[in-house]
Amino acid sequence: MTTVLLGPQRFRMTAGTVARGLAPEGTVATVTAGWRDREKDDAELDQVLGGRSRNLHLFTRLGHVVRHDRTFATAASAYNRAVDEASELYTLRLQHALDAVYAISRRSVRDDLVDSSLRAGLQSVRDIDAWFLWVLTELEGELRADGGVDTSDVIAQHRAEVAEIIGGASLLAIAGGHVAYLSRCLRLFAVEPPDHLPIIGWSAGAMVLTDLIVLYNDKGPEGVRPSEVWDRGLGRVHGIVAMPHARRRLQLDDTDRNTVLAHRYAPARVVLLDDGGRVVIGDDGELPPDARVITAEGRVSTVAEGAGAVPNGGPIGRGGGG
C-alpha cells in the first residue's frame, strides 16, 4: 500500500513524475471535486498525468444528486445548517479554551504547576475537538437516515459508476481545493480505494487521506485564528495531520503556538507540506526521514533530524515550549 502526500502543485508540479513512478501504465482515476464549479477544467492535469486520467466528477455528481433527489437535498440543506451552527459553537469554545492555554503559558509561577495546568488546558481543547467530531458523526447519521443516503437509487447509481472507475484504475490522484466539498463528496460517493491501489493526494487532497482534517490560517484577513478540527478523513494514512501551504498559512517562527499545535494533535504528527514537498508512506505506515514536522518544542524539523514523536500527555514545558 503506497500513499504519497504532496505539497501544492501550482508552482512546482511533481504529481506527474510521482504518478509515472507509482503506476507507469493504466488509467489514473482523478478527483478534482475540490475545484468545485471548475471541476471539469482538468485538461492540464490530464496532460501532466500523460493523458490517461479519468475524472470521477464527484462535484458534478453531487449537483446531479441534489437536483434529482429531493429527499437528499432537503436533508443535506438541514445538515449544512446544523454543521454551520455546531461549527460556530465549536469555534467559540475553542477560542476560549486556547486563550486559557496561552494565558497559562505566560504566567510566572512554579514550572510544575504551569506544566500540569497546561496539560489540563490542552486536554480541554482536545475534549472540545472530540465533541465537535462527535457532533459531526451524529449529524452525518441524521443525514444518512433522513436523506436516504444508503437507499437512494440516484446515489447508488453514482456510487456504482465511481466504484467501477476506481476498480479499473492503476492509480488514484486527488487534487487540492475546497477540503470540505472534497471530503463530503468522497464520503457521499463511498470512495473507498482498496489497499493495493496506490494513491497520491496534494494539498487538500493530502489532507483527506489522513484520519483528521484540520483547518488553519494564521495569516488570514481576520487575523490569527486557531486551527480547527473539521472532519474525519479517509484514514488511508494514520498518525498524521497534513498541513499544506505551511509557510503561507502558519506562523512557523512562533514556537509557543506551534508547541500547542504539536501537543494538541499528539500522538499524531503535524506534517508540513509546502511547494515541492513529498511524503511517501509505504506498507509500514511510517513517516519517511525527510518528512518535515513540528516538534514537541514547536520547531520545524525533519524526522531524520531527531524530531521524535510528540508525547501525548507528557510534559509540555515552557520557554521554547510555551
Binding site: N80, E85, E88, G177, H178, A180, A204, M207, G220, E222
Partner: protein
Amino acid sequence: MRRLAINRLLERPVDQARAERFVAKHGSPIVEGPRATFLWVGEADEVLVRHRVQGLPDPLSMRRVPHTSLWYVSIDMPPESRVEYQFEIIRGEQRESHVNDPLNPRLAHGPFGASSVCAATGYVVPEWTLPDPEARSGELVDETLQSKALRRQVRFKVYVPARFVPLVHHPLLVVHDGDDYLQYASMKTVLDNLIHRGEIADLVVAFIPPGNRLVEYANHAPHARFVARELVPYLSDRYPLLGGPGGRTLMGSSFGGIASFSTAVRYPELFGSLLLQSASLVFTDIAFDHGGGAVFDPVVKFVNSYRAKPRRVTDRIYQSCGMYEPLITPNRSMANVFADAGMDVRYREARDGHNWENWRDRLREALTWLYPGDQRFVYE
C-alpha cells in the same frame, strides 16, 4: 531626523520665485516621517486649515512666508493616519470656506462634497477596495417596498453575489445609508473582491437609503418596524436567506449606527450581529447637556436609557471608530458596556476621522469576522 523641507526653505531668504519652485517640487501636503506640512499659495489676509481632528486646534492658522504668497503650517501626523481637510481663506470681510487644496490631487468624496486627503507615512489605500478584473461582479437589483410603518415607498438595492446559488441559504446584511456606502465606500467593489477571494461568505446585502435621516435614524420606532417587520420578511420571501438571527446583521455608520443599534434593541434576537462604524453613541452621565444640538436629543435619550439598563441584544458586535473624531470617547465607553452586557465585541480604532474612506477601510476586517468565507477551507 532630517529637518523638515519647509524649515530648510526658510533657512535662507525666500523670494516668490523660490517659493514657487518649492511648491512645484513638493506639492501639498508634504509628509515627512511623523509630520505633515500644508501649503497654500495666494493673496489673503488669513488662511486656515479646517480638519475636524480631535486634539488638534481647529482651525489651524497658516503662516505666511515673508515677501511671498506662500502659506504653510506643520502638524504631527502619526504613521498610518489619514486626515481629510479643507482651507478657509479670509480676505478683508470675505471668508471663502470649504476650499480643497489645489496643490493636492487626492480627494475623498462624501454626500456633502469632496475633501482633500492627507495620507501619512504608511497609509495606503487597501488594494481590496479597488476593482479587480478577476473578481466576478455581483448584481445590484432594484427593489421597491411600500412601507406601512414609514408611510412611504422605499426604493432600495439588493446585492446578489456572483456565485448566487438558489439552493444555498445566504446570510443577510442590511446596510443603512446604503446608497452612500455604494457610492463613497466602494462597497460593491469590496463585496465583489472579498467574495471572489473566499474571504467572506456569499452575502445578500440590502442597501437601504433613509427618508428623513435625522428623524428615521435617531431611534425611530417606525424605522425599526420597517426593517424588522417589513424588510426582512420581504427579503426572506424573495431570496434564500439563512433563517436564524446568526444569518442577519444590521450595519450603519454615524446616525446609521444608531438606526442599526436601536432596531436591534427594539427587536432583540432577530439579528445576530451589528456592524457599527463611528456610531453616534452620544450620552450624558449627568443632566442632558450633550452639546450635539436638537437632532441628538432622541439619540442621547436612547443611549442614556440603554446605559441605565444594558442588555444583550445581539450575539456579536463589530464596532469601529476613528481616533480623530469626537465620537471616539463615547464609542470607547460603549464597547465596554456592550461587552459587559454579554455580547461578543470586536472593537477597533483607526487613525482616521468621521468619513466614508475610514468606514470603507474597516470593511474587510469587519465582514471577515462576522461572515468568514471559504478561504479557510481552500488548499489548492
